[in-house]
């Protein structure tokens, strides 16, 4: 079975069409969330620092403008993962409100799980992105 990265709010649905993405952008704008795009070639579960395509659009109220940036980002980073984030800056929240993948590489590589046997039957796990430049140790 081919690997599919299931991070993000909508990864168990078929990839969203541009029209469907626009509907989610409208939802974010209506709630006053600031949108931004991020991309990475290292989708390790602990890598929350994807590269920023833009500073969050705090003022943008037109879904079309955001969608145009989505297209530009896809062209520029075709082989990488791209996600659209909506940020909620309200007091008491101040965190991401919605985040979903809007572009995937044609072939998703997945992760390697390696084990190191310790004493007392304890196993140390290491999960690494299948990318030469992204071997990151993990201990969830």
């Amino acid at each position: 079975m081919a690997f599919r990265l299931t991070q993000g709010t909508f990864s168990f649905l078929p990839d969203l069409s541009d029209e469907e993405i626009a509907a989610q952008i409208d939802y974010a704008i209506a709630n006053g969330y600031a949108l931004n795009l991020e991309y990475t070639n290292d989708p390790h579960p602990k890598n929350f620092l994807w590269e920023m395509w833009n500073l969050p659009w705090f003022e943008e109220t037109d879904a079309k403008v955001v969608l145009e940036e989505v297209q530009k980002c896809r062209i520029a980073h075709e082989t990488q993962y791209i996600r659209l984030n909506a940020y909620d800056a309200r007091y008491g929240r101040q965190t991401t409100a919605l985040s979903f993948i809007i572009h995937r590489p044609a072939r998703e590589l997945g992760f390697d799980l390696t084990r190191q046997q310790g004493t007392d039957r304890v196993t140390r796990y290491r999960i690494a992105s299948r990318r030469a430049d992204a071997m990151i140790d993990t201990n969830l």
């Binding site: 690997f3 990265l5 299931t6 991070q7 709010t9 909508f10 990864s11 168990f12 649905l13 078929p14 969203l16 469907e20 509907a23 989610q24 939802y27 989708p43 390790h44 579960p45 602990k46 929350f48 984030n85 909506a86 008491g92 929240r93 101040q94 965190t95 991401t96 409100a97 919605l98 985040s99 979903f100 997945g110 992760f111 390697d112 799980l113 039957r121 304890v122 196993t123 796990y125 999960i127 201990n139 969830l140």
Partner: protein, 480 residues
């Protein structure tokens, strides 16, 4: 109660009604720093409701059954609790009694002390047929003496990197008897199928059929495999409930050492143990899940015990990240309005009294983190629109039977739940009337998800439609 004659009477040796000893003060204006309690009381025949309320105030603060001169060595008027309002509940023998307590009566940051004071012995008091603690207002200065949830909802989401939707979980079934290897099979299938969490049940501790250390090790193999196959952070609530704190610390330390993101405890360990484990969870960076095992023995009946909303408030102060709080639509007790009050208690930051959902007092939590409510017990994918409508987005939906009972296997059951959830969130964000269009939204999602189609086909008509025993006293007046 002022003046020399009254004062003289107040201190005459013998038995004086509580109301005349200063515990009934209908003119008292509660201070912003007072702890306020609302009790539902049913007095014995012949006992006036004001006297009954005063007795509750007295017995939960300074009083004993007879006058003691040693009260006069203290600033007793300060330490006495004051019953300041009583209201009859129409059509019943019940009264709602409001009592104010000075903040000085309580030790900073101690649920054990708070509860020993408020519910210490008054619930056995003979002058009352029954007594229920319905709600409390904890003043912000007292709230601030508690550390609260080790992480809270915002930090949990950032830790898990999961936003914009409820989280999904499942409790491993059968509750008892699985070996560690079989147990971990369930964990693996459920997580790889799409759940965020799996969970030990409350009575899975360390029994002869599966010792805790074996379960922990096998479960973490399952968790790590599921993480590698999905690229998502996932976890299994490892239940560290045990006979002693030493045992619990040993198990929790081991859970941390092998990389679990979360541990769980049962309510049965007691309030002090819960606060100790909250401290441990904060120090060690693990999420802390609390299973409310046993609460139904004292929360369910309307006329005696403690409302769950009070327990939820205590647990937010004590400091847990997750707490089971009802499903509305599942198999366990839960009127929609009452459950809504529990969720407000766990997630609200500052809110007014709202008797229609059982909240009799305002509450200001300051900046205390929120507890993630957990909805568990007899729920399935076909109810997703109802669950989202009633419970909102910051909640964990736990489908045990609704995952493991799927005819095509556990992973298919998990996938069905995840697809149903994401489809419902998408529809909600698109502005659709998901409460009414829910079945249609699910049916459309089932076109691309055979697992969801199967789940809907077998569970479509399952509902648990029984009257709740615990319901609000007041209903909103309709606006015509």
């Amino acid at each position: 109660m002022n003046g020399r004659d009254n004062a003289k009477h107040r201190w005459a040796a013998g038995v004086t009604p509580y109301a005349q000893m200063g515990y009934w003060q209908p003119d008292y204006k509660p201070l912003p720093t007072d702890v306020l309690c609302l009790f539902r009381i049913v007095p014995q025949e012949g006992v006036e409701p004001e006297e009954a309320a005063a007795a509750v105030a007295g017995e939960s603060s300074t009083a004993t059954w007879t006058v003691v001169w040693t009260d006069r060595l203290t600033a007793h008027e300060h330490y006495q609790a004051k019953a300041y309002h009583v209201a009859a509940v129409p059509g019943s023998d019940q009264y709602l009694a409001y009592v104010a307590y000075a903040i000085d009566l309580f030790e900073e940051g101690s649920i054990a002390n708070l509860t020993s004071s408020i519910i210490g012995n008054v619930f056995s008091f003979k002058a009352l047929k029954s007594l229920r603690l319905e709600d409390m207002r904890i003043p912000l200065p007292y709230v601030k003496t508690f550390l609260g949830p080790p992480h809270g909802i915002v930090m949990e989401r950032e830790y898990l990197d999961k936003y914009g939707r409820p989280l999904l979980g499942a409790t491993v079934k059968p509750k008892l008897g699985l070996s560690a290897r079989n147990y971990a099979r369930v964990v693996y299938e459920a997580l790889r199928g799409g759940l965020d969490f799996t969970k030990d049940d409350e009575n899975i501790n360390s029994q002869p059929f599966m010792r805790w250390r074996d379960r922990f090790l096998f479960a973490m193999e399952a968790v790590n495999q599921a993480v590698a196959r999905s690229g998502e952070i996932k976890g299994h609530y490892l239940n560290v409930t045990a006979a002693t704190m030493e045992d619990m610390y040993e198990r929790a330390d081991f859970a941390r050492e092998i990389g679990s993101p979360i541990i769980m405890i049962d309510l049965t360990v007691g309030y002090t143990a819960i606060q100790s484990m909250a401290r441990w969870a904060r120090q060690n960076g693990l999420l802390l899940h609390l299973h409310r095992a046993g609460h139904g023995t004292f929360t369910r009946q309307k006329t005696h015990g403690i409302s769950f909303r009070v327990l939820a408030k205590w647990m937010r102060l004590a400091g847990v990240d997750h707490l089971h709080a009802g499903t509305v639509v599942g198999k366990l007790e839960g009127d929609p309005h009452i459950v809504s009050g529990y969720y407000q208690t766990l997630r609200g930051m500052r809110y007014d009294a709202d008797p229609a959902i059982g909240l009799y007092f305002e509450q200001d939590w300051g900046s205390m983190p929120q507890v993630m409510p957990v909805a568990s017990g007899g729920i399935h994918a076909g109810q997703m629109h109802l669950l989202l409508h009633y419970l909102g987005e910051d909640v964990i939906f736990q489908f045990g039977g609704g995952t493991i009972g799927h005819p095509e296997g556990i992973a298919a059951g998990a996938t069905a739940n995840r697809v149903a959830l994401e489809a419902m969130i998408q529809a909600r964000n698109e502005g659709r009337d998901f409460f009414n269009e829910g079945p249609d939204i699910l049916a459309r999602a089932a076109r691309f998800s055979p697992a969801l189609k199967t789940a809907l086909d077998i569970w479509r008509d399952v509902s648990f439609d029984f009257a709740s025993t615990d319901t609000p006293d007041m209903v909103p007046t309709p606006n015509w």
